[in-house]
Symmetry: C2
Subunit: 253 residues, 2 copies
């Protein structure tokens, strides 16, 4: 039986989603809880990576429950949560079609990015929002975010993972970049058919720089139109991981 | 010049307010930041202790700025915050009368206690709310909280610190115990002229036990009326530190 997990995590304690040496990743912790429950190793496929320090409100993943386990899907929720750190929580577990794939069946993703503009960042927001106390023009912010909507070659707003080839397709479609005022700052909600490495952080950071008058709107548009030799992972435009949340992975159902 | 600090902290990372061996207390961190700023040790008097894991939205403390330092009081805020961990924040610094005392001038305190009743505790609430998924009757909860309002001998709802004497006065006045429904649980706001060690956690825990039908209202009243040999720090009625926040220290001004 193929099962789909919906998972929330506070990324401050982890080296991102993807399994790696040291095992302090969200995927490693969940695989350990799965193995403890099933008494055998179980492969776990996520919808995609999140970087160190990035949070998730509803990451998704799938796995195949061993034949001999006749647990009701819902019972995996407490079975796993009791074995996981409190900053990783399984929110739901449901049966899906045998050909469902957490990554390849996804048709859209939603990320949110939280900014705090208060002079002092609350100690309860440390690592959970980007602290931007410098004055920010909301109208310019809104205008800058809209530069990214639509279908574009986003090579200038993606960092390399090292496995890119000349055939790598850098095109993505951003269907929405919504700006919401919060009592202590702003929330940007990004919807798109897919996001490359650091893409949300590079777009959000660039829009914030525009809203602070540190980059002109024309130059921002040029950055997107002329992808060669443009800001990547180490770019000063890149927003920190603190305020970034994977909010939803959408499937056709 | 005597200065009053207002301080917020996420208690998860600290061994409470009060200085102790190991120095991982909020008071120790602020004293270190004061000494680095003033280039000499400075005594720091808080309004009172908070236990390990307890949070503060507005703890208060006072200190005397050395004569040679002619800083504007407000400038202490960034001077200290740049030297403090991000989970301790100085919210304000203001000049007060030379006879102001953070502890002895206080006339009232407000604590808040957050409960989460969702089946799964959000990873962003771990250590920040008491997870109470078991069914809870809000009317009984409200009734149980009111048992504590007014002036009482609270010896049955205070833990010993070891420095108590036969002359210790166990009387306190609770002026309000307000219950508020949150989207994912409840918030109790306690106002009083003073609170003894673990008193808020013992009262909140007892009221929750009543709301869950695990202790009868009559027995709860008896516990308060008959203070001898009653639940103390190790009581099963004691709520965890997770959901407790020092919200306000009131002064006559």
């Amino acid at each position: 039986m193929r099962l789909k997990l919906t998972i929330a995590y506070d990324g401050r304690s982890y080296e991102g989603w993807q399994s790696q040496v040291g095992n302090n990743t969200v995927q490693d912790h969940i695989k350990e809880a799965l193995a403890l429950t099933a008494k055998e190793p179980i492969a776990l496929q996520g919808s995609g990576r999140t970087d160190a320090g990035v949070h998730a409100l509803a990451q998704t993943a799938h796995f195949d429950a061993p034949e001999h386990l006749t647990m009701n899907p819902y019972n995996w929720v407490p079975a796993l949560n009791t074995k996981l750190p409190a900053t990783i929580r399984i929110l739901s577990c449901e049966e899906v079609a045998p050909d469902f794939h957490a990554r390849f069946s996804a048709v859209a993703k939603v990320y949110r990015y939280d900014l705090c503009t208060d002079p002092v960042l609350s100690p309860f927001k440390a690592g959970l929002a980007w602290h931007v106390p410098r004055l920010l023009d909301a109208d310019v912010f809104q205008e800058a975010l809209q530069v990214f909507t639509g279908r574009h070659d986003f090579q200038g707003f993606a960092a390399n993972r090292g496995n890119e080839t000349p055939e790598t397709d850098w095109h993505r479609t951003i269907t929405a970049a919504e700006l919401e005022a919060l009592p202590d700052g702003y929330r940007v909600t990004w919807c798109g058919d897919g996001f490359m490495y650091k893409m949300v952080r590079l777009m959000t950071g660039a829009a914030v720089h525009a809203a602070q008058g540190r980059i002109r709107m024309d130059d921002l548009r040029k950055l997107l139109d002329q992808p060669a030799g443009l800001p990547h992972g180490k770019s000063p435009l890149c927003a920190p991981s603190d305020g970034l949340y994977l909010q939803e992975v959408r499937y056709i159902s």
